[in-house]
Symmetry: C2
Subunit: 331 residues, 2 copies
């Protein structure tokens, strides 16, 4: 049985939501969860819930990383719940880790405690976005503002392994995110990365555009963390805009209210395809260990899914495949 350590102090909605999500994951996926609490916060939440005590344990820390802490400040707090979670993962007391905390702090602590996989210069935030062909892997989602071409090449290998082993895309199509596909498009970084990626054995499509993230043309999109973060947050903003525009439209007349009632289920299922919460969490891929960051605004369902994502990365041995791939001459 896989053992996932969950930082219960991450997230904007307090430990109750994290505890709910972790307990649901324990029940639904048969994983063992270890909740890291600040003082008795988790115990007090657990006392109000029913759960299988053999699947749930609690560790106590003295503090928590704040969403506004800088990575360097977070690194100095050796007693935070996030730090304790990483320390225990490193000590072998879990197979993977989930936190809905500050992703910059998570990356800094993860790098310090776990280090990188051999062949990886810098870990990346790997996000699965919705797409017409069942999910696109995008990385880096924001860990590395500036990147070198060889880092994008490493991201491509890591993303392709994830797309194949977790999303089930055989021989996944990989592209470098750019401002166009024509000759002369791209910047210095992307043009050199494209040149290097053509020399790998990856199923590489060259430069791709923003619309290719969702249209299914590729399964893996690589970019620096600045560009990836802009793309992901632009999608998040547009999703909220559309949702708000549709809500307003449905409320605009009695007829449209009635129509909405009739197709509500269908609309919800369409929203579900869009909802990041279902994808549940972004692995910090390239760390020497499995760590998944859940969105700060995560619901219990998102936490549950982040635990699932961590468990899948463990059971599919994603890190083992990455080490093999980046050990090859073309890596």
């Amino acid at each position: 049985m896989r053992r996932i350590i969950v930082d219960a102090m991450g997230g904007d909605h307090g430990p109750g939501v994290v505890v709910d999500g972790a307990l649901q994951a324990a029940e639904e996926y048969g994983v063992e969860v270890t909740l890291v609490s600040q003082s008795d916060a988790v115990e007090s939440e657990l006392s109000r819930r029913k759960f299988n005590p053999s699947a749930v344990s609690v560790l106590t820390a003295d503090g928590a990383v704040d969403m506004h802490d800088s990575p360097s400040r977070a690194l100095k707090r050796k007693d935070s719940s996030m730090r304790v979670a990483f320390d225990r993962l490193k000590a072998g007391e879990g197979d993977g880790l989930v936190s809905a905390g500050n992703s910059g702090a998570m990356m800094a602590i993860g790098m310090f405690v776990l280090g990188r996989l051999p062949g990886v210069d810098r870990p990346a935030i790997l996000t699965v976005t919705p797409s017409l062909s069942g999910g696109t892997v995008l990385l880096d989602g924001g860990a590395n503002t500036d990147c070198k071409p060889r880092q994008l090449v490493q991201f491509a290998h890591m993303g392709a392994i994830y797309a194949e082993k977790i999303l089930g895309h055989a021989n996944p199509r990989v592209g470098v995110l750019s401002n166009g596909e024509e000759d002369g498009k791209g910047n210095e970084l992307t043009r050199e990365a494209v040149r290097e990626l053509h020399a790998t054995e990856l199923n590489f499509m060259g430069h791709v555009e923003g619309r290719d993230i969702t249209n299914g043309r590729v399964n893996v999109v690589v970019c620096d963390g600045f560009t990836g973060n802009v793309a992901l947050k632009t999608m998040e903003g547009l999703g909220q805009f559309v949702s708000s525009a549709l809500k307003g439209a449905f409320r605009s007349s009695l007829l449209s209210r009635l129509g909405y009632l009739l197709c509500r289920g269908a609309i919800r299922s369409a929203y579900d395809r869009l909802d990041y919460a279902r994808y549940g969490g972004a692995p910090l891929i390239g760390l020497n260990g499995v760590a998944v960051v859940a969105h700060g605004g995560s619901s219990a369902e998102a936490i549950k899914n982040a635990v699932r994502v961590a468990g899948e990365a463990v059971s599919q041995d994603i890190n083992g495949y990455i080490v093999s791939a980046l050990d090859k001459p073309d890596g």
Copy 2:
């Protein structure tokens, strides 16, 4: 009466759609349109339509810029419809210009024929995106892959003037697109641009994130053309994804089909808020003249709106305000 020169050979759908849009604009907005045709393509379209002959004239060119032509190749074709359109604008035979052609070619020809406004290093593609507060001006949408901080400062001034004079945002809020707002976020370009923009008289909000493009927090978003193009095309792709997911959902059962019929009008009005076609065209702002690029896949309505956008830029004297603003010490 304003006179708009329309390159009838741009666009993916052939000259018929462009002619339709231009005739609609002439009728609806009372503008005079000059259509630039390759050989008799436009005459043959016009012969099948009714229109007011005193508002419509035709110029003939010997060729057309292809969507795949490089800017340098397009510049060499002195007889293309796009080149003729710019030459006639320069000669004072029109007040503004519209093309649904290749935007790189348009920028190159525009720079060569019209030149830049004083104080502008490089013109930018200015796009109006949907937002919860009635439209956000985003620039650069793709003309300049790499930018210097002072170019972003110029974009900010140009965008703020456009947001105020055309969209009606008094004292518009301006932000620099970045991967986060916290200290330490942003890249070398954006951090220096933020420093310089704080010293201007603009209503400047610092770094903003992708979601702020649509959530109404700012009215103007500035970025280099690489980042802007990725953001705009990511929005375009997600819009198509949502539309496809909803269509699938409405078709999923008899009940949801019925519901859709009842709220169809409301949904269409929500889509309209999203639809780029309504915004109609992106000015190449900073050129010494008014030139508007319409999306290559433009419908007649989009062409009509691009003509409106060109007419508004002329009648609001956007370029005059830009020259005044960039003449100030802080520009």
